[in-house]
């Protein structure tokens, strides 16, 4: 192993002037040499601290060892035992809070760039086109329905297909991928990568049905009672935008982050009028919030022609929930960060367009239930900021439709999330499992993917034991 190498190998990024004019991917990825060089920094710890910090416990030293040897395809194989979406997760995981955050090297030096390595080998596999489809050993007769094609649904579908089940994915939108296609922009996660994953899962025999809104097109009960689906996985995410409920929030030019990003990403609004769906981006844009969604909205606004983009956040830099890398990218690109301010009202012009956001200054008080210090308004400190466009990115909650239209499916009253057993993902309705954001509330891609994967195990167990008395009690009480 030799000497400790304190600094990680930098990953090339598109220069700022170039990237703020296009939606091309910002991070360019490692070359083969760079990947090997970075891999060689890893101590291959016998008791690695990075592994338990990865939500799906990838054998990190196991795959890095193969990179050191230059066998990138073996490395991917190791990762895929635990994570079927490495090209996605390598790009979007909040690594500083997960694997990399717990790497021993990070105590004194820079942690190993695990995410970049994961991304590198996944892209390498795609480039050399060696993605083999494992033949299914035993075919199973049971049909399973997957509702929603976000990471949780995609992974659940691929796992069940590999076990031999007949799997159908129902998606209400016209493209598959959930937040990966309608939320996270191209410059962070190129759409081709998501397409590639969907195509791979299709090759496993999974049927994909778009324009199918479960709860309206067919109810879940109809899918089970009339259409012959013996088990269902609900991975419908948390897509219902939240607003603050303050005066003026319905003025023209005030978007929810979901609408803004959907118009830009799913509908390709940034290519209007080549694509038909318009999006209004004025010269001065304010984005409310400081999570990943807010960063994506702010950087998309910049790329869509805004001259000045501001993040307005009621806490401080320390409490921001966005990935560190993306907050840094946003700052590099010239996004202005205004901390400790909270909108209290919007002012419009005579045609109803938003003209100013009125904010109040905040200070931090005692920590709240999330452990972050609670922001408290400073009375009399209100002032106005001129704006042309506002994007509200203060969070999303699950849509109530699936629970409202399904017999026996229960939700958490306050949070609106579906109730499901933490280990088995079994819901309050027999044969129905749920995971991802619809259960946890807005979280991360890897947690959703992990939920889909683990749920598949229990769906398999359920289908093999469905005639056992009390099987559902067993699954909901374990």
């Amino acid at each position: 192993m030799g000497k400790i190498k304190p600094k990680r190998v930098e990953m090339a990024k598109r220069p700022v002037e170039e990237r703020i004019k296009s939606f091309d991917e910002v991070a360019l990825g490692y070359t083969e040499e760079e990947a090997i060089k970075e891999a060689e920094r890893c101590l291959l710890c016998p008791k690695p601290t990075c592994v338990p910090a990865c939500p799906v416990h990838i054998d990190i030293p196991g795959f890095i060892k193969w990179i050191q040897k230059g066998d990138f395809l073996q490395a991917v194989k190791v990762i895929k035992q635990d994570n079927p979406l490495p090209a996605v997760c390598g790009r979007v995981c909040p690594q500083e809070d997960q694997c990399e955050g717990s790497c021993v090297m990070g105590r004194k030096f820079e942690p190993i760039a695990i995410g970049r390595l994961e991304r590198f080998v996944a892209d390498y596999e795609a480039k050399v086109g060696n993605i083999e489809v494992q033949p299914v050993k035993e075919k199973r007769a049971e049909k399973v329905a997957i509702v929603g094609s976000g990471p949780s649904g995609l992974v659940c579908a691929s796992q069940l297909a590999q076990m031999g089940y007949k799997v159908t994915v129902f998606e209400s939108l016209h493209e598959f991928g959930g937040v990966l296609v309608y939320g996270i922009p191209q410059f962070r996660l190129p759409k081709d990568i998501v397409k590639r994953e969907v195509e791979y899962i299709r090759k496993l025999g999974v049927e994909f049905v778009k324009n199918f809104f479960v709860g309206r097109t067919r109810t879940l009960d109809e899918l089970m009672e009339e259409d012959g689906y013996e088990a269902v996985f609900i991975g419908t995410g948390a897509g219902l935008p939240r607003f603050q409920g303050i005066p003026g929030e319905n003025l023209l030019g005030i978007y929810s982050a979901n609408e803004f990003l959907t118009r830009i990403n799913l509908m390709r609004g940034y290519k209007f009028p080549e694509y038909d769906t318009p999006v209004k981006v004025g010269n001065t844009v304010a984005v409310i919030g400081a999570g990943n969604v807010a960063m994506d909205a702010a950087r998309s606004a910049l790329r869509s022609g805004a001259k000045k983009v501001m993040i307005l956040y009621r806490r401080t830099e320390k409490e921001m929930t966005a990935r560190a890398e993306e907050a840094e990218n946003a700052m590099e690109e010239g996004i202005e960060f205004h901390f400790l301010v909270n909108p209290v009202r919007y002012h419009g012009d005579e045609n109803g367009w938003v003209k100013e956001v009125e904010v109040i200054k905040m200070r931090l008080g005692e920590p709240d239930e999330s452990g972050r210090r609670r922001p408290i308004p400073i009375e009399g400190s209100e002032y106005r900021i001129p704006v042309d466009t506002v994007v509200v990115a203060i969070g999303q909650v699950p849509s109530p439709i699936i629970a409202q239209t399904t017999k026996g499916l229960k939700r958490h009253e306050r949070r609106g999330t579906l109730l499901a057993n933490e280990k088995t993902f079994a819901t309050t309705k027999k044969g129905v499992f749920a995971g991802g954001d619809v259960v946890t509330g807005a979280a991360t891609v890897i947690l959703a993917a992990g939920a889909g994967k683990d749920a598949a195990k229990y769906i398999d167990y359920y289908l093999k034991n469905k005639d056992k008395p009390n099987i559902w009690e067993e699954l909901t009480n374990s």
Partner: protein, 279 residues
């Protein structure tokens, strides 16, 4: 899954009826619900009311008015062509019951939305009065269909070229003044028309439902584009509506929000018309 156009006819100047092959939509469709379609790969998602659902043959009828690029493009498609996307049924079904005497008012494209409601109210044994309004007689939609099912059928035109000269509200007022006992009003059409109907019926304390048509994107409750203000609260028309209590709706806001993309809509239509000219 292709969404094939099985039938197309012009039902008025710039207004078309189409029958689309969509068995999975037809199966559960109820009056008052709508679909969202995309004409082509780069197209926008536009909402249109389900005019008729034929469950047996798996067919959906839509009636639409050409107002911009997407509806123009749709109108140029022919029988045998396929739509890119077709999602539905969406929205809450209308509340249909035996209320007694119901006045159904349609103006402009709203008449297309009105048609399935008239049939549904009739089926629920209501005494159905229809007021069909347009700027002039050439723009009147669905005259034959509506007059056939309605118990009473009235026409108003702004220029008096057919029926009563004036607005639909003038006709409604006449009925009210004649002391016709009206248990419920359902109105759909231009926002200004719905707002005026609401104003009139509020004075006379007649329960009134309007079907709102805000700009939509997904139609499934995940973007908030369709937000409307009802009773001082923000609602998503695609999930909570499109039907709302007319006396609670903020029509002024709806009118403003519908104008949000006016510049872009013009650019889009002009570009498309140029493309058609150049073949």
């Amino acid at each position: 899954m292709g969404y094939k156009i099985l039938f197309k006819e012009e039902v008025g100047p710039g207004a078309y009826r189409m029958i689309i092959e969509a068995p999975h939509v037809a199966k559960n469709a109820q009056p008052g619900q709508f679909i969202v379609l995309r004409v082509h790969e780069k197209g926008e998602r536009i909402p249109l009311t389900i005019s008729k659902a034929d469950k047996e043959n798996g067919e959906i009828t839509i009636i639409f008015q050409v107002v911009g690029k997407s509806t123009k493009h749709l109108s140029l498609l022919n029988e045998g062509d396929e739509l890119q996307d077709f999602l539905g049924p969406l929205g809450m079904p209308s509340e249909i019951d035996n209320f007694g005497t119901v006045v159904l008012i349609g103006g402009g494209f709203g008449t297309a939305v009105l048609y399935p409601m008239v049939a549904a109210y009739k089926e629920a044994n209501n005494h159905v009065i229809v007021i069909n309004g347009a700027r002039n007689k050439d723009l009147l939609l669905l005259e034959k269909d509506l007059s056939q099912i309605a118990d009473e059928y009235y026409v108003t035109t702004d220029d008096g070229s057919k029926g009563k000269k004036g607005f639909v509200t003038d006709m409604l007022k006449e009925l009210i003044d004649k002391n016709v006992k009206i248990d419920r009003v359902f109105a759909v059409g231009p926002v200004i028309m719905m707002a005026n109907v609401a104003k009139l019926t509020k004075q006379h304390n007649i329960k009134t439902i309007v079907s709102l048509n805000p700009i939509m994107v997904d139609g499934t409750g995940m973007c908030g584009s369709c937000r409307v203000e009802v009773g001082g609260k923000t609602k998503f028309a695609c999930v909570d509506g499109p039907d709302f209590d007319a006396h609670e709706v903020n029509f002024d806001l709806l009118m403003k929000r519908l104008r949000m993309y006016r510049t872009e809509e013009k650019i889009s239509l002009e570009k498309f018309e140029k493309e058609i000219q150049n073949g």
